[in-house]
Symmetry: C2
Subunit: 436 residues, 2 copies
């Protein structure tokens, strides 16, 4: 066995870390994590860190969860993977039925895959629409360099043309409203875009309630209600990307529930396996899309799309167990945690350089500003959020920010005392960086 | 517990299977697989099936492999996942070092991600080139609907413009050569494209030795030698997609070894985890690309690209164990299996409707034709390959074809007697369908 020092040497020599300016590691080498336990992870020196961001929003129920680990171990020893075309398995069939029943309004079909690629259906309508700041993933480019007509022809028209319209920005509301007075006035540009482009729009993509990567930009469910109604009126599909906000993060199993909408497609991933494995599911509400690909072989209508590990039985087992744990234990206990998070945020709201604290369910965010007056942002080169992250890390918490937005997206099972500790670390770290 | 019948009902009601004309399942419901063991999988009725295609080319060492299962179980109980930005872990660091050392010519860095998206580096050169029939994955569309400039700006120029040139097609050689006389004369269009477009080409993508999805189109290493030399001369990156052909499939650990080339990037996936989990790695040969993203924070050069589960420790452990098993057991035993596959293919070559048998390492393919004279193909609507698949399934083997190309891509550990049985099933099934 090699020691920690060797691991850091191997890492420095050979690993290109994601979303990382590798030169930073000259001064601050990465921390070597050796084990996880609930909301904590431990480094090679035995130091503990509260995982305040659920390891990039995936860890839903805590690290190395005994029940999740057990079903994974069982399934690995039985059937780790099998081709999912022409074949099926109990975890895959059961999970599909369960997701269809659990999602608001009821869904018909589940396609195990990644998100955007599967959201097709109206071949003559080729454009997608999304809102400024939207983030729906980074899996692009592969098909552009593929040459098999079988795989390309149905997708080729979709590769290019996306309409981007301004969406909600509640901290600096473009309509001069506050969260208290808001009636989603900012929906106007979306309505205008739908009016102008309905004829060639295939679908609108939306992250319901929270644009996570866009600085945890939280907005009113009224916007979603308007969007669902407008999409229905325009005959345009609505695709909800619940990848980050699904599975209890916003206080309900799915974020769409809070707006009372049932989008045509729903994309799930991240927490779907409790944070163990990469896996994704697209829920299809009605059969119109399915039927568009249904027919005799000679009609050549089948949906020739796949990923090698589609329907991985271990991932399906983990997802079933995750839903069990959520429904029997976690969701009922969530309101108390959401209240505790309110208190944490309230304790931060008065700090001199906190422009806003905001909360949606169990997601909390703190937007740091150079000055509250005019909501003046820090110059990016000061890396204020990054400094808070480093300060919190020294205190034993992982609070990797989005720019100058520090946020909490902890495992839903974090004990209340650990949540309070996380809040205290955030407060001390923000003060250290912004008030020195 | 529900029985098999219920599983099929749930499946029929709610699962949209990949690469499947779902209407086919009205007549032929999917088979419910309940366990795997080595090169075999078993359905709910206890029937055994030889997995002749490694469950879509992923299962490298057999199903439910005891050593792979054990390391997965261990890692799941210790640290199932942790954020890989600012943090590292022993499996991730060790695997990076090991992959860099194992790949031909030596590589510098490993980026854990999916393939195409990571293959950037020369911002002013924006076009990719690939050859007709190339298949490099199906993960496209997500970024087109994202709106965060941070993630989009470096990739936006890459989304559109791919050059496609004719490549090898040895069964129906465009240069009227045979495999015996071939000197990769068909490289001429690629040379012409490189001559014409070098100035704005970022990279050429190639599946070395075998275009798998394109009917197991096998071609000479001489083509790869010419390509590597021409790319170097033109200052264009060469990206080898070893996703399907890597990890011993072609008889060597990597297919590129057989051409003596060391591409600038190498993309690995599928067999990388022994077929357990989705995972991908991009190997970067020299530091020029890495350095393009290296700098002070203020320069804003970092590679802001990630996937939620980047560097998953369970996947890394599986990959390390897979390499161990390959290097200590499997590769040494492979020549005997390759010879046995030769015998299997030889026993099929004389059948009336076999236009060609071809082999590259442990991949074997049989191209069915309506008539050998003129290599006349069957009308697609006859679904000849599909009928062979169904006939083989009744006999206990999974030989899902590519059009009318039936192929063998069995686990590298398949016992010799099972391989012979697989060959016999293929022969009987082909005769049943083509000679009736």
């Amino acid at each position: 066995m090699t020691g920690a020092n060797d691991i850091l040497q191997l890492d420095r020599a050979h690993v290109w870390h994601p979303c990382t300016q590798m030169k930073d590691h000259e001064q601050q080498p990465p921390l070597e994590i050796v084990r996880g336990d609930g909301s904590l992870v431990f480094d090679a020196a035995g130091r503990r860190y509260i995982d305040g961001i659920s390891s990039w929003w995936v860890n839903l129920l805590g690290h190395a969860h005994p029940r999740l680990t057990r079903v994974l171990q069982e399934q690995a020893a039985t059937l780790e993977q099998v081709i999912f075309a022409g074949f099926t398995h109990a975890p895959g069939a059961r999970l599909a039925a369960r997701l269809c029943a659990a999602a608001p309004g009821g869904y018909a079909k589940v396609f195990y895959a990644d998100c955007g690629s599967a959201a097709v259906g109206q071949p003559r309508k080729r454009r997608f629409l999304s809102i400024v700041g939207a983030y729906h993933g980074e899996t692009l480019g592969a098909l552009s360099v593929g040459g098999l007509a079988l795989y390309r022809e149905k997708f080729a028209p979709l590769l290019l043309d996306t309409l981007l319209v301004p969406g909600p920005d509640c901290f600096r509301c473009p309509c001069q409203q506050t969260r208290a007075t808001c009636a989603a006035e900012c929906f106007a540009p979306m309505q205008a875009a739908l009016d102008a482009h309905a004829a060639d729009l295939a679908a609108v993509f939306i992250e319901p309630l929270v644009q996570c990567a866009n600085g945890m930009n939280m907005y009113s469910p009224v916007y979603l209600k308007k969007l669902a109604a407008a999409c229905a009126a325009a005959g345009v599909h609505l695709i909800a990307d619940e990848i980050a906000v699904g599975f209890g993060r916003t206080g309900t199993l799915f974020a769409c529930e809070q707006a009372g909408i049932a989008p045509d497609f729903m994309c799930l991933s991240k927490g779907l396996t409790g944070g163990y494995l990469p896996f994704a599911a697209v829920l299809v509400r009605d059969l119109q899309t399915f039927d568009a690909f249904y027919g005799e072989h000679a009609e050549q209508k089948a949906f020739y799309h796949s990923h090698s590990y589609t329907g991985n039985p271990m991932a399906c087992r983990l997802a079933l167990e995750t839903l069990d744990i959520l429904e029997t234990e976690v969701l009922a206990a969530l309101p108390a945690r959401i209240t505790a998070l309110q208190h944490v945020l309230a304790s931060l709201a008065g700090l001199e350089h906190v422009g806003e604290t905001r909360q949606c369910g169990f997601i909390g965010a703190i937007e740091l500003v150079a000055a509250r007056a005019g909501k003046r942002a820090y110059p990016p080169e000061q890396r204020t959020g990054w400094q808070v992250y480093r300060a919190a890390l020294r205190r034993g918490a992982i609070l990797r920010p989005l720019g100058d937005v520090v946020y909490f997206m902890a495992p839903l099972t974090i004990p209340l005392d650990v949540l309070e500790e996380l809040g205290a670390i955030a407060r001390d770290s923000i003060r250290e960086v912004t008030e020195r």
